[in-house]
């Protein structure tokens, strides 16, 4: 089968900025931060107290009790975002389409809430039996499985686990499936629910979490801030989208994947560089055509320096005039959902001609010399954009988007 152009026709998101795309985009384009004191648990004993948590979610509005019992929060978020994306795309399910629909989701840490429930019950409360559904709630593919069941999608379906790049790897895989005819529709993205005490304690020991807020690329940055939620995209061939008169947000034009093969937590410059170059090549985009990069931009000392060097190395002089922002400054670092939430942000940025800012920015850091769109969104007509994800373990995935004039 010849290569097919792949377009994005549906979006879904839930994160600290909102329960849907409209709320989230309003916050992103107005520079509203979702970072607040962590409210779902007592943070005494941790050296950080802030997070980007979903607020005011009544899950019973989304699931009946019987169904809820089956789903860890990370799977709930995935289904909520997938439902929005499918509805947004106006998918009319036929048995043929269901058979040809791929579902590929990313998750870094799986069902932490359910896992901790087991440990607290056993070690602290002296229970002798674990909750019966611990295993199927904890498994990292629980989100993917729940989405397939929600829509009766029986095509290729699996979960990618590449830490902070999980969602970008999932979306890349879905792109390849649709591009090469292994599926005619894909629901792709990622979800995460990391606000669980034991898990936060583990992050604390890594010394990567900021005691105040997330200030990517800024002087005075002190680390990242964890976030939670999900993002989902509907991908389909351009021709199919045109034929059914679907609204097309943007073309998902390519992906670039690479490994650092170096260190568990310290990134190299070469790995990210290679992923960016491969994404440009795959999409047939010349570096000077890129008008926006949604950065990995975690707000840690080392990531932001290395990412700056990688961008400068690929784009050369064009980097002087290339807006690069980290929306993690608003929705936090949602780990396996990060790339998906950022893919939604990047898609809407192209569609609306608005670049979301890097919030909480204080002063320029000479080691991060980029136009990071500090503290205020910017109008800009963008033809091509990239979204970077680099992970612990050195696994990099970059997505390339094109504005669709079709």
């Amino acid at each position: 089968m010849p290569e097919r152009r792949v377009v994005i026709t549906g979006l879904g998101v839930i994160c600290s900025l909102g329960h849907n795309v409209a709320e989230t985009w309003t916050a992103l384009s107005e520079g509203t931060s979702g970072i607040t004191p962590i409210h779902c648990l007592d943070t005494a004993g941790l050296s950080f107290h802030n997070g980007a948590q979903i607020r005011g979610l009544d899950v019973l509005q989304h699931f009946d009790k019987k169904k809820l019992h089956l789903l860890d929060p990370f799977a709930q978020f995935a289904v909520i975002a997938a439902r929005e994306a499918v509805q947004d795309a106006g998918i009319e399910w036929t048995s043929q389409l269901k058979a040809r629909t791929a579902v590929i989701t990313g998750s870094c840490v799986g069902g932490q809430t359910s896992e901790e429930e087991l440990f607290v019950g056993f070690y602290r409360d002296g229970k002798t039996r674990a909750p019966a559904l611990t295993v199927p709630r904890v498994m990292a593919n629980a989100s993917c499985s729940a989405i397939t069941m929600e829509f009766g999608a029986t095509g290729p379906a699996f979960t990618t686990a590449t830490a902070c790049s999980s969602a970008n790897h999932a979306i890349s895989q879905a792109l390849l499936m649709v591009k090469y005819g292994k599926a005619d529709l894909a629901v792709a993205g990622g979800s995460e629910a990391p606000f669980v005490f034991g898990h936060l304690l583990a992050w604390d020991s890594l010394r990567a979490i900021s005691p105040d807020t997330c200030r990517p690329f800024s002087k005075g940055r002190r680390g990242t801030i964890l976030g939670e939620g999900a993002g989902m995209l509907i991908l389909e061939p351009l021709e199919a989208a045109l034929a059914r008169g679907a609204h097309i947000y943007a073309e998902l034009a390519g992906c670039g994947l690479s490994a650092d093969a170096n260190h568990l937590t310290a990134p190299t410059c070469e790995g990210p560089m290679k992923a960016i170059q491969l994404a440009l090549q795959d999409a047939g985009i010349h570096p000077h055509q890129v008008g926006y990069i949604n950065a990995h931009g975690t707000g840690t000392e080392i990531n932001d320096c290395v990412e700056t060097r990688a961008i400068r190395a690929v784009f050369g002089k064009h980097a002087d005039n290339l807006p690069v922002s980290s929306t993690k400054s608003m929705h936090g670092h949602a780990l396996g959902a990060a790339g998906a939430i950022e893919a939604v942000a990047t898609t809407l940025s192209l569609a609306h001609g608005v670049i979301p800012p890097t919030m909480n920015f204080l002063d320029p850091d000479p080691d991060c010399e980029l136009d990071v769109v500090p503290n205020r969104a910017r109008m800009a007509s963008i033809d091509c954009a990239l979204s970077n994800s680099f992970s612990f373990g050195g696994l990099n995935a970059v997505l390339a988007f094109k504005r669709c004039n079709a």
Binding site: S205, R207, H263, L264, T265
Partner: protein, 109 residues
């Protein structure tokens, strides 16, 4: 003999002696934790030796610090950890963390 000496010295000296005993205890724990983490015989480890020459990278370093935090129930700030180059620096950082912890409960807290 030791008891009589201790009775004779001033309370300030007394606390200095306690400090030095405490330092030795911290140093011994640092050496045993580093030895276990890196698989190096403890007799090869002196306080003068640096992380670099012992092959202690950032992740080994984090593991060592976390073990020590657990052993002494103290918290080391990132800024303090960033300054560590030698095992003696580790001992000093743990001592400082003790001092800060004591300070928190004190009149100037």
């Amino acid at each position: 003999m030791q008891m009589t000496m201790e009775n004779m010295i001033s309370s300030q000296q007394n606390s200095e002696m306690a400090d030095s005993q405490h330092s030795q205890e911290i140093a011994a724990t640092v050496i045993s934790v580093v030895s276990a983490e890196m698989g190096l015989p403890s007799e090869d480890l002196t306080l003068k030796r640096s992380f670099e020459e012992l092959g202690i990278d950032s992740l080994n370093g984090l593991s060592i610090i976390t073990e020590l935090e657990n052993a002494f129930t103290v918290h080391l700030e990132n800024e303090a950890i960033a300054k560590i180059r030698t095992l003696a620096d580790v001992v000093r950082a743990v001592e400082n963390a003790f001092a800060e912890k004591a300070g928190e409960g004190g009149p100037h807290a």
